[in-house]
Amino acid sequence: MFRTIDISEVEDIKSWIRERLRKSEEVKVLASKYGYREYMIARYYEMLGSWDEVKELLNAFERRLKHSIRCNTLKVKDCRHLVERLEKLGFKLKEVDFWNLAYEVVDEVRSPTLGSTHEFLLGMYYLYRGKASLIPPLILNPQQNDKVADLAAAPGGKTTHLAQLMNNKGVILATEVGRERMRALRNNIERMGVRNTVLMRVDGRAVKYFLKGYFNKVLLDAPCTGEGLIMIDPERKIKTSFEDLMKWHESQVDFLNSAIETLNVGGYILYTTCSIAPEENELVIAKILAKRDDVQVSTLTNTPIELSQGFTEYFGLNLPKDVSRCGRIYPHIHEMEGFFLCLLEKIK
């Protein structure tokens, strides 16, 4: 057993974790069997606490996800009309259990593909590789008069969803720094009939220089390793070294810290990643809470599904207890891609 220590007392988190990564036979066997880097398996044991559950997670990552679509009410007055059109083409749809404007595609046809139907091209729906991406906008729950920033917005699934929830009213500033990713974002904005949005090709961390304290809701779907998307992209089993993971961690802390500056007092920022790595999630939140006294972790309301709690202890590091209010989505529990969500309120 390792001793535990408050995270704020540890200067070098990277070394702390690395020294404690288990190098057991089970780690080696599972890493080899499923094709992962060993450090990832060691972390999964630390997170889940039993080898049986680690195996459940690894098996869930082997299963393919069904596509989901979101009916775009900015373009479609009655979603039954969209369902009828797609069913005529041979698709079989089932309403997603947590939101009645989204559908899981239970049966697909070879041609046309879901990304090439006339209905898709007309912006009648947005296509998702997994349904977890539907959840952040529902939790942020923007209203028609809100001022919203989406600070890493491409390709636009969440931006267009926010606009739909706002009925094209209010304001969204959507930023993206990558040229090609911005083109995809703009295309989706126009395709989906979004008209309440300013797109800006800029690093989201720079927004604080010209719209400090302006927004009452901010979505930061932070660039991440994508460790929750292994069932979509199995390359991610080996793509990220532990060193790189910790670089992502530093960058995410920096991004979230800047993003908070764009928020007005009383406003909320939803920090999300498509990763299940605590280094990109709870440890980022813990660092922010240690750095600043103007934000607090809020209870996640409007959660359309029951989320697993955020960790308050990781490799002997004690995290602030409020971090348990953050939410996790696990492939083996929720049958979706892995995701992390944490709502922070700016209190002064």
């Binding site: 009939g193 008209r195 309440n196 797109l199």
Partner: protein, 203 residues
């Protein structure tokens, strides 16, 4: 941690202007005239870079854009994308979303042709609109203007350069004659034509 800055910023200029100015630039394009009637409170924003593009902006968006411009930055796009402005005919290439909106608000089609499903598929592969595909014509059409291309379901699927001077002229054409050449259609991005080069457009 360094923040990546957009190096293109200096090459683009965005400014607010009026419908009158936009009408002047487009030689009184009917779609702009209609927009000024159905969306009178919007401000026109023009961004000049590699291309000249026009947008319609409401007051809330204007406030955000002013803050961006005051910081010597510029928006990539905003509000309702009206389309691309040109110095020679056609003076405007309206966007699909803009036409969709003003047809909806005006509650009628104009400067457009409706095409049957058999013609829609090739159009979405970048092909031109042939006489055999056209089921309805909505005046006024002018040779060299960019017009809306509407599917049988009433949705706008793209824009095309008219080769005829009025709807009656369409009736006189042979089935395989071109009524309008494809300028942009909703399948454009899907085909991987993401380079927004004007030479890619047939105008």
């Amino acid at each position: 941690m360094s923040i990546r800055e957009d190096k293109v910023a200096k090459e683009i200029k965005c400014y607010f202007t009026t419908y009158d100015e936009l009408l002047k630039k487009t030689f009184n394009a009917l779609e702009i005239l209609v927009a000024s009637e159905v969306l009178p409170k919007h401000t026109v924003m023009i961004c000049e870079g590699e291309f000249v593009e026009a947008y319609l902006i409401n007051e809330e968006l204007k406030h955000v854009i002013e803050a961006i411009l005051a910081n010597n930055r510029f928006p990539y796009s905003a509000g309702i994308y009206v389309g691309r402005l040109r110095k020679s005919k056609p003076y405007i290439i309206p966007s699909v979303d803009f036409l969709t909106l003003i047809y909806e608000l005006k509650r009628e089609y104009f400067k457009a042709v409706k095409i049957r499903d058999e013609g829609l598929k090739p159009f979405l592969y970048g092909k031109d609109v042939l006489k055999a595909s056209v089921t309805e014509c909505f005046p006024p059409l002018n040779n060299g203007d960019v017009i809306g291309v509407i599917g049988n379901d009433g949705y706008v699927y793209g824009v095309a350069l008219s080769k005829v001077s009025d709807c009656n002229e369409v009736l006189k054409l042979n089935p395989n004659d071109v009524v309008a050449t494809n300028v942009f259609d909703v399948g454009w991005f899907l085909r991987g034509e993401t380079r927004v080069k004007e030479k890619k457009f047939k105008v």
